[in-house]
Symmetry: C2
């Protein structure tokens, strides 16, 4: 049993972690899009122990190969997707043990998104657009669908709910 | 003034830092090679504050552009090269606030190398070879000169000192 200080994890996640809000096409939602919220931390196998310990500390999430089909990329990723886990475990942990870098701003936007989803606001036109703004102002390097495309499709939807 | 726990830095460095031992050609050394020991941490500009704070905490090192000539790569790097600083500041800090991942093994080899250099052992044939073994057993992804090439050139040197 290793006793790792909580602030070790906040430092590690400040470097290696990601608070991600994605908006992807979905035929199950009336407006044609689904919001994905995900906390993840990738590591090569040498860092597996840190993922294991962080998973234990947070009390949620799972570890899987980052790219299962690849033989070159043997990295692993700790993933937390469940909104209840994000709200009740992940976010409180990083409120108590805050990030220092600019990633903290992403964390705050992530937190706001998770709260809006918990309140069902993502199902309203206004709430969805708010989350869209939050997501696309985060420091995510690659976006598959430009914000304008989502907005234009959203306009054609009579009602989201 | 931000109060950052030391273990935050050990977590951050466990993810983002590097304890590097390089062996490069040098016309100033009799055996034709120079040993470089360097602790560094790279960050994009959003993480600049962490580099600043770590530099302050360690009380040594400097921050510079990672690739000065590049317009695409705007990342920064905190560098500590001075052997006295490594021995008296960097290494004691990470002994008190240890890394958790497999990078800890690299740290131990780095520590041993810095100690050998401090004792002047790198100037002996035996000490140089010991450092070569330590360096090439570390998890450094890219080595410009294969170990065998260094060893073969080293053999041709009558005396290093």
């Amino acid at each position: 049993m290793i006793n790792i200080p909580d602030s070790y994890f906040s430092g590690f996640v400040d470097g290696e972690g990601c608070f991600y809000v994605g908006i992807v096409p979905s035929k199950f939602n009336k407006n044609g899009f689904q919001i994905i919220t995900e906390f993840h931390v990738s590591q090569n196998p040498r860092g597996r122990i840190v993922l294991d310990q962080l998973k234990n500390r947070l009390g949620c999430g799972y570890i899987k190969p980052n790219h299962k089909a690849s033989t070159d990329d043997v990295s692993l990723v700790l993933v937390v997707k469940d909104n209840k886990d994000l709200k009740e475990k992940v976010i409180p942990f990083f409120l108590k043990n805050p990030l220092i870098s600019g990633k903290y701003q992403d964390f705050l936007k992530f937190k706001e998104t998770v709260e809006l989803i918990s309140q069902g606001e993502h199902l309203t036109d206004q709430g969805f657009k708010l989350i869209l703004d939050l997501a696309y102002s985060m420091n995510t390097t690659h976006r598959r669908i430009p914000k304008g495309v989502i907005l234009s499709r959203l306009k054609s939807s009579q009602a989201i709910r």
